[in-house]
Symmetry: C2
Subunit: 243 residues, 2 copies
């Protein structure tokens, strides 16, 4: 039914194949204990030495950067299975905060690097993770650079829908984050996010049910409105040179 061909979301789920028994990135976290992080609490701080990597076991985490007074950018959301901090070299370039109550595991960067350096099976997965993060970041650059409010919101919702493990129960999509989170992720204001949802509702694309659930009425239409050409019409505008 849904067929976004590239990665579904900013972060990239790295685990899930723990079950495969094989030595996967996710398995590196298996030996460490689970920590509980209540909603709103920080996991790590921008500017601090990145001594650990984290894996989300349960819940949703946001990565954010604060620039100037009151300006916040959310660069990614991370879900169960995702690894946080893979691309960091020395310091955290973001503050990671729990959006919902979370469970996480951590491993030290040192031992992570040692394991990845040693194990020939882990390395491709690690590299693949880095590549996908970059691809996701580029997609977000396109969104922030050229999409209008409606396209941004539809893209966001479409990404949520097509996440593996997405909380979709008979057309009801769980939105774990609040409007401010969504706004800061999409480069908009809460008001614009709110108004855009209302507009989509009036057009029978979706139907908000409470603050944290959306009934997806017309997924097809939603995807069309996301302004992602390749999501349905495959390649239309590739190889079209401007100027």
């Amino acid at each position: 039914m849904l067929m976004q061909n590239r990665q579904a979301f900013q972060p990239v789920e790295a685990a899930t194949d723990i079950a495969r028994g094989g030595r996967s990135l996710g398995s590196l976290f298996q030996m460490s204990t689970v920590e509980v992080v209540p909603a709103g609490k920080a996991i790590c701080w921008e500017g601090d030495a990145a001594k650990h990597l984290f894996q989300v076991v349960e819940g949703v985490v946001r990565l954010q950067r604060i620039i100037g007074e009151g300006r916040r950018v959310i660069t990614a959301f991370h879900f169960a299975g995702d690894v946080i901090g893979a691309f960091l070299q020395s310091d955290f370039l973001f503050t990671a905060e729990a959006v919902t109550d979370c469970k996480i595991r951590r491993v030290s960067r040192k031992s992570f690097n040692e394991e990845v350096g040693r194990c020939d099976l882990l390395r491709p997965e690690y590299i693949s993770l880095l590549c996908k993060e970059t691809v996701a970041a580029h997609d977000q650059m396109v969104l922030l650079s050229k999409k209008n409010a409606e396209e941004r919101l539809c893209t966001f919702i479409a990404r949520l829908v097509s996440r593996r493990n997405a909380e979709v129960h008979k057309g009801l999509l769980r939105i774990p984050m609040n409007r401010q989170d969504i706004a800061d992720y999409l480069g908009l204001t809460i008001e614009t996010v709110s108004r855009t949802i209302t507009k989509l509702a009036s057009r029978n694309v979706l139907l908000p049910e409470g603050r944290h659930d959306l009934r997806i009425v017309n997924l097809r239409r939603l995807q069309e409105l996301s302004g992602n050409p390749d999501d349905f019409s495959e390649k239309t505008c590739h190889s079209v040179s401007l100027h």
Copy 2:
């Protein structure tokens, strides 16, 4: 004098240490012949199978994506020494075009991966490259998400200035790309770019000399106007939690 602490620009110079004699990523391209690409011509196309990686030997290259009719996003500029396509897994996610007359080298993805997989010295450099690309992409997300026209342009110019090998001859900075390129990179229109330059000139921050050169009158001020907190005042707004 200049002191941007993070990477100077979107792409990350990977070579330059060819001279070190050591086996570096750049050295992988040494054995292949130099190709000449005239300004405006494409090096690879979005959607095509990414069978090669490229290294810029001379000139400037832009990576761009076309979305919808007439909407173009430039995700990065690449300069001499930079590697293009490091983070690609299968297909090109961008069209690479020469901004100026260029010289490039290419290696096949296959042999690149083999070499990197084999050589323990190359791998950290490769991973480091991937990490830096992601970091650069995140910086660009912040720019596109929260910065106004003036901050965007100042950030852009400051990045150009602090590039290693930057073409700065006694305060005169070479701008190889045209206004449309700058606009599509910064998420603005040519008109806004033009007006913003005029405004900065009237405030004695810089002085345009022809279409492709800027005299940097007040670098300090330029950096301040770029809205990058950590560029001079170190950490001011870190660890400030909203909400």
